[in-house]
């Protein structure tokens, strides 16, 4: 009996010695209830956001139908408002590249910008296009509508003329109609998948493997923050990835010229709400990254990552608020405000991509190309 005890003690010593050589901390068991978090994400954030997008796109379809019957200033303005309403909600779903959205490359058909004016015009001139083709990703979605509603001619009268007196007015109307209908049908498909079958798959995938829901959504969230928000909305126009060569024409909603900042702030708002588990369009607050990190902090005595991340997101917001409502103008007049915004967002990326995933013991499933 004593022998056994002694050997057990010795083995315990061995285990202690081994684990301490990893840097002095042994990892306590992570008993966080992932399922509650997945249920909160699905039921209070993801599905309600898709439902709202679907409904806003329904309104966009109706406004488009009215406009294609009577292309006048009033109906154009109503259509533009419907476009912006839907575009703002879009900022809440772009990050969820999972399930049918991932399979269908949904976001690529909804928001790749800048739109290709050449491809759009060529589609309209030639007809017979297939918007589901990969080649037409940059001739579809919100950016294509940005062009069709704001950029297709110099001013509103000239824009209306494209849909009324232009020799190919029917072609323009048809294309506008097809783009809107395609966005609606893609969104319906993704939403229906969530409400009929995918929700249950999602909330029951509670393990910690590379294909588990939490791991995938965590990667999606960080990837979106890094690429969709930080790089696409700020870094690319500001020349961060082109050795300082500026691309004012690559801002989101370039042709509109007024809303790139509104959309970016909406995207940051959506990201922060998701991080904190706040219900879409509601006030309730369920489990999300913030609670997970708080839990991990209590069992490891680590840093208050939730506070660090929220503070840094707030710092990014304050910086973005100093930027011109038209990012394109800002790039042309004083690009520093764009790069300062990018820098604050990058600090969030570091917290998410290094500190948060390390605390959650999740590996990042994508890597950046690095120089040499």
């Amino acid at each position: 009996m004593i022998k056994k005890v002694v050997s057990v003690v010795l083995l315990a010593l061995v285990i202690f010695a081994c684990s301490s050589s990893d840097g002095g901390e042994s990892k306590p068991k992570d008993n966080f209830d992932r399922q509650t978090m997945l249920v909160n994400w699905a039921d209070n954030i993801i599905i309600p956001a898709y439902e709202d997008l679907d409904s806003k796109l329904g309104a966009l379809v109706a406004a488009k139908n009215t406009f294609t019957v009577t292309a006048n200033q009033t109906n154009l303005e109503a259509l533009r408002i419907a476009w912006l309403d839907a575009y703002k909600v879009w900022q809440h779903v772009e990050m969820f590249n999972i399930g049918k959205a991932e399979v269908d490359y949904y976001s690529a058909y909804m928001n790749i910008y800048p739109a290709s004016v050449t491809e759009i015009e060529s589609n309209i001139a030639n007809g017979g296009y297939d918007l589901a083709l990969a080649n037409n990703q940059d001739a579809a979605g919100f950016p294509a509508l940005d062009y069709l509603l704001y950029g297709v001619a110099a001013d509103d009268n000239a824009i209306l003329a494209m849909y009324t007196t232009n020799a190919n007015a029917d072609g323009y109307k048809l294309y506008l109609s097809d783009v809107v209908n395609e966005m609606k049908s893609l969104t319906e498909a993704v939403l229906n998948d969530w409400t009929t079958s995918y929700r249950s798959t999602f909330v029951n995938s509670t393990a910690n493997t590379t294909t588990s829901s939490t791991n995938k959504i965590t990667n999606d969230f960080i990837y979106y923050f890094e690429k969709g928000l930080r790089a696409n909305k700020f870094g690319i126009p500001a020349g961060i990835f082109s050795g300082g060569v500026l691309y004012p024409e690559k801002v989101e909603a370039y042709h509109n010229q007024e809303v790139s900042k509104i959309l970016a702030l909406e995207a940051l708002h959506a990201s922060q709400d998701f991080f904190n588990g706040k219900a879409y369009n509601g006030t309730s607050d369920g489990n999300s990254f913030d609670d997970y990190l708080d839990y991990l902090q209590t069992i490891t005595d680590g840093e208050d990552l939730t506070a660090l991340i929220n503070n840094q997101m707030n710092a990014a917001r304050s910086q973005i608020q100093t930027v011109d409502s038209n990012f394109s103008n800002q790039v042309n007049t004083d690009n520093t405000r764009m790069t300062l915004s990018y820098d604050e967002l990058q600090k969030v990326v570091v917290l998410l991509k290094l500190d948060m995933v390390q605390a959650m013991n999740i590996s990042v499933d994508y890597i950046d190309a690095d120089g040499d």
């Binding site: 022998k3 081994c18 050795g243 890597i367 690095d370």
Partner: protein, 402 residues
């Protein structure tokens, strides 16, 4: 009883093998020279660094050839694959360039693109001004407010200055020692963010090499740091120094000062032991060497900054005729090293010894606060800056000056 003993023995063996990781270097095979192999094949590779040092060398030389155009010079700085910018055709066929790696470290600039852009713009403007203002005045005598040439007293050496007395090629060359070499080395390749990125630690622990390569990613990152210091050496495994006109040479110069003798070997030994520690998966020893390299490479920049500022000061205070050509040459070198201070790295911290803002204040004090820049700079200003730098690094102005 036998069972107990054998279990105890096994446990002790296990204990010993586990605790190895905690003991300094007893499991590390530290080779005599920077030579590392896996299955008989060398695992050391830093071609990109050798290429960039060669590009920087051609650029700095080209800044002294007044027939070059601004476009020629800027193209050498920001080379694009296939463009015939260099005399060495191997450089022309490279997809690398100098500009993209200036102020580009993960630790200092990934979330500070605003300063990174401003720093790149400084280099662009020095290069542009050399063509715009200095080349066109190549045969004009320089004076306060006038760009042109000046000959050193008692020498055939002619130097070329802008209207403020700054030798722009020196600003570029010495600025690159910090902005390219030290920043990439200390704040990028030796940083945790790079060495331990992604699955680097797991892969290094299991000897998972990069596809088609003989080295792990962590080994390679370390070698790239090594390459920014020794990449121009004929035999980089056993460096002899004076192999380039950048960090490598100034490490030798500081080492030649009796007050800092031994610094070159200290850096080399730390880089070698750190690399050996990576092979042995001993990251505690690795990180200790990072601190040694950061401290000493930073010190090279600081010592040379003070050295040149003090050299200029004694020229300016000379009895009789002042050798402005020599004084401003030293001041220009000192200016470049002062500029490079923002890329140094205080060991154990995330910050340089002098921030971007502090360095900009020195730049203003030397060059911009007076109408005619160096022509108006006072010995007091040079002493103040020298003393602040020396104090931050813990050496004396006198030690660096002689």
């Amino acid at each position: 009883m036998k069972k107990f003993l054998s279990m105890a023995a096994a446990a002790v063996v296990l204990f010993a093998s586990c605790s190895d990781d905690d003991n300094e270097s007893n499991n590390i095979e530290n080779p005599a020279t920077y030579t590392f192999t896996r299955n008989g094949e060398s695992t050391v590779s830093f071609g990109g660094q050798t290429t960039r040092i060669a590009m920087a060398t051609e650029l700095v030389s080209a800044l002294s050839v007044s027939t070059n155009t601004k476009e020629d010079l800027l193209a050498m700085f920001n080379h694009q694959l296939g463009e015939p910018d260099f005399t060495d055709v191997n450089l022309n066929t490279s997809d690398k360039n100098v500009r993209s790696k200036v102020a580009a470290s993960a630790d200092f600039f990934a979330a500070n693109t605003t300063d990174a852009i401003a720093i790149k713009a400084d280099f662009d403007s020095w290069i542009s001004e050399q063509a715009d203002n200095v080349f066109v005045n190549w045969n004009v005598s320089a004076g306060a407010g006038v760009a042109g040439n000046m000959q050193q007293l008692g020498s055939t050496t002619v130097r070329y200055f802008n209207a403020k007395g700054l030798e722009l090629n020196q600003a570029v060359a010495k600025g690159l020692i910090g902005g390219l070499m030290a920043d990439q080395m200390l704040n990028n390749y030796l940083s945790d963010a790079v060495l331990d990125a992604g699955a680097n630690v797991t892969n290094n622990d299991s000897d998972v090499v990069e596809e088609g390569k003989s080295y792990t990613t962590m080994e390679h990152k370390w070698d790239e740091a090594y390459g920014y210091l020794y990449g121009a050496e004929e035999n980089p495994a056993s460096p002899v120094l004076d192999a380039d006109r950048f960090l490598n040479t100034y490490l030798r110069q500081v080492n030649d000062d009796a007050d800092f003798a031994g610094i070159a070997d200290e850096v080399y030994q730390a880089l070698k032991l750190g690399r050996a520690a990576i092979v042995a998966k001993n990251y505690t020893v690795r990180d200790a060497q990072v601190a040694v390299v950061r401290e000493n490479i930073s010190k090279v920049i600081a010592v040379r900054a003070v050295h040149y500022l003090q050299g200029a000061k004694s020229d300016l205070e000379a009895e009789g005729t002042v050798d402005y050509a020599h004084a401003f040459h030293e001041l220009s070198e000192g200016f470049g090293f002062v500029y490079s201070l923002q890329f140094t790295r205080k060991p154990g911290t995330d910050v340089p010894y002098f921030t971007h803002e502090e360095v900009n204040a020195y730049v203003d004090a030397l060059l911009n606060d007076n109408t005619n820049g160096f022509w108006d700079v006072t010995p007091e200003t040079l002493d103040t800056i020298s003393a602040e730098i020396a104090a931050a690094f813990g050496f004396t102005v006198e030690a660096a000056a002689n």
